[in-house]
C-alpha cells in the first residue's frame, strides 16, 4: 500500500518528528504546502518542487543539528540527490 521509504521520510523517522511537527517546521521556514501535501511528498504520492523538497530537507537537517548531528539530508544542488528517492 505504501511505496518504499524515501530519504525524507526516513529522515523524519530518524529524528522522531511527527508529520505534524515536521510540517510546522517546514511552515516556519516559509513552506506554502499544506500538511496533507507534505505528507503526500513524503509518501511519494505527490512530487514536491525542488524548493519545497529543499525546505523539507532543511527542516529535517536543522532537527539533526539540534540533536548534535550534521546535515545528512542532501539538497537539490548536491548532485547525488535522486529525485525519485525524495
Amino acid at each position: 500500500m505504501t511505496p518504499p521509504t524515501g530519504v525524507l521520510e526516513q529522515g523524519r523517522l530518524d529524528v522522531g518528528l511527527s508529520h505534524g511537527e515536521l510540517w510546522f517546521r517546514y511552515f516556519e521556514l516559509g513552506g506554502m504546502s499544506t500538511a496533507l501535501e507534505v505528507e503526500a511528498y513524503l509518501y511519494a504520492a505527490l512530487d514536491p518542487t525542488l524548493h519545497d523538497r529543499d525546505l523539507l530537507a532543511a527542516a529535517l537537517n536543522e532537527r539533526f543539528s539540534e540533536l548534535g548531528g550534521d546535515h545528512p539530508i542532501p539538497y537539490s544542488e548536491d548532485n547525488e540527490v535522486d529525485q525519485h528517492n525524495a
Binding site: 516556519e28 499544506t34 500538511a35 536543522e62 539538497y75
Partner: protein
C-alpha cells in the same frame, strides 16, 4: 452553519473520545470534495492520540478512491505502532471497495465493537467520552458534550494550524488572504494573518467595531459579503476594505462549547469569489478547528496558541526579508536566494532563521550608514 450544497445526503463527521479508542463517525458521501476534510481530521486524530482510531462507517453512503486514499494514509502512519485504524460496520459498498483494494485487513469483524457507540447520546449520559460535532453540524443536534477532554499537546495545536492552512489552500481559487481571529481577554485579536493587508482588514474591523469578522465571532454564524461595492451593512468598515483592494469576504465562526470564540476570515480582491463549495469548505475546516480548539483549551491557553502562531509567522517574515536582501544584492531568483541563505546558515552553524535575522539586521545597519553618508 453548514449543510451548504445540494447533496442528497449531507456529509457529516463526529468524533468521540474514550479511554481506549477514538471513534470517528462518518456519514454521507466521501468523495474528492469531502475526503480532504476527513483526511485532515484523521491526521489530527492519528497524531494526537494514543489509542486506536475507529471509523464508524455505518452511515457512509458512497466512498470513492479519494476516501480510500486518506484512510490508507492514516493507516500507513500507524504501521509499526501498536495502534490501528479500524473501519467498523462498513455497508456493503464500502466493504466491497476495501476488499477490492486489498484493504480488508482494516475492517473490524467483531460486530459488538461499536455496540456502546450504537447507543444514543441520552443512553450514554454517564459515559466519560467527549463528543465533538465536527462537520455539517445541524443546529438541532447536541454539539459539544461536556466532560473530561483527553490531555492536549502541541500536536493538537499543529492539527488546528494544519486545518486552518488546509482551508486557506483548499479555497485558494478565490482566496487572496486568510486570517484567524480569537477572543482574548474579551477582545478579538488576530492570531494569524497571511499578510499585512489582511491583518489591517481585521484591525479596521476592531477599530470601527463592525464588520463580518466581528459579526461571525459574536453571532456564531457565517457572514458572506459577495460584493463590497453593493454592501449596505457596516458603513464604517466597508469603505476601508474597498480602499484596501478587497472585494469579497467570507467570515466563518469558530465555536467552542456552543459559544463563538472567533472567526476564520477569507478575503478576496475579486467580487463573488466564494461559491457554495468554498463556503462548505470554510465551514468544514472552521468547525474542525473549533473542535480541536475545544480540546486544546484543556491545558493550552489561546495565548499559547497565538504565541506559537506569531513566532512561526514572524520567522517566515524574517526569512522572506533576508531572501529579498539577497535577491537585491546578487540579482538572484527567490529560490536561489533561499539556497544562499540555507548554505550560509549551515556554514555558520546556525539556523536559517538566525542567519536571516542577522542578514536583515546588517542590511538595516548598512542602510542607516548609507543614509548618514549622503
Amino acid at each position: 452553519m453548514s449543510g451548504v450544497g445540494d447533496r442528497a445526503v449531507p456529509f457529516d463527521l463526529r468524533v468521540s473520545f474514550s479511554a481506549s479508542r477514538t471513534v470517528l463517525q462518518v456519514g454521507g458521501e466521501v468523495d474528492v470534495l469531502t475526503a480532504p476534510g476527513l483526511g485532515a481530521l484523521l491526521d489530527a486524530l492519528v497524531d494526537r492520540g494514543d489509542s486506536d482510531v475507529v471509523i464508524d462507517a455505518r452511515n457512509i453512503h458512497f466512498m470513492d478512491a479519494s476516501g480510500l486514499g486518506v484512510i490508507a494514509a492514516a493507516s500507513g502512519r500507524l504501521r509499526g505502532s501498536a495502534r490501528r485504524v479500524i473501519v467498523a460496520s462498513p455497508p456493503p459498498i464500502v466493504r466491497r471497495i476495501l476488499e477490492l483494494t486489498g484493504m480488508n485487513e482494516l475492517i473490524d469483524h467483531d460486530p459488538g465493537y461499536l455496540q456502546r457507540q450504537a447507543l444514543g447520546p441520552e443512553q450514554r449520559a454517564g459515559d466519560d467520552s467527549l463528543s465533538v460535532a465536527a462537520v455539517g453540524a445541524d443546529p438541532g443536534l447536541p454539539s459539544v458534550g461536556r466532560a473530561m477532554a483527553p490531555p492536549a499537546g502541541t500536536d493538537v495545536i499543529d492539527a488546528a494550524l494544519r486545518l486552518v492552512t488546509a482551508l486557506a489552500r483548499a479555497t485558494v481559487g478565490g482566496a487572496d488572504g486568510v486570517s484567524v481571529s480569537l477572543t482574548r481577554h474579551g477582545q478579538l485579536t488576530t492570531v494569524a494573518a497571511s499578510d499585512e493587508t489582511i491583518a489591517q482588514m481585521d484591525r479596521d474591523q476592531y477599530a470601527t467595531g463592525e464588520g463580518p469578522c466581528l459579526a461571525a465571532a459574536s453571532e456564531g454564524h457565517w457572514f458572506h459579503v459577495e460584493s463590497l461595492a453593493d454592501e449596505a451593512r457596516w458603513p464604517q468598515f466597508i469603505p476601508r476594505a474597498i480602499a484596501g483592494g478587497i472585494s469579497s469576504i467570507l467570515s466563518t465562526p469558530l465555536v467552542v462549547a456552543d459559544r463563538p470564540i472567533g472567526a476564520l476570515n477569507i478575503y478576496s480582491s475579486t467580487e463573488r469569489a466564494f461559491g457554495p463549495h468554498d463556503q462548505e469548505l470554510a465551514a468544514l475546516f472552521a468547525t474542525q478547528a473549533s473542535g480541536i480548539l475545544t480540546e486544546a483549551r484543556a491545558d493550552l491557553t489561546t495565548e499559547k496558541v497565538a504565541q506559537r502562531l506569531r513566532e512561526a509567522l514572524s520567522g517566515r517574515e524574517i526569512i522572506a526579508q533576508a531572501q529579498g536582501v539577497i535577491m537585491g544584492r546578487q540579482g538572484a531568483s527567490a529560490d536561489a536566494a533561499y539556497a544562499v541563505l540555507r548554505h550560509s546558515s549551515r556554514q555558520a552553524g546556525i539556523t536559517i532563521r538566525q542567519r536571516a535575522s542577522a542578514i536583515v539586521d546588517n542590511a538595516r545597519h548598512d542602510d542607516l550608514i548609507g543614509r548618514a553618508a549622503r
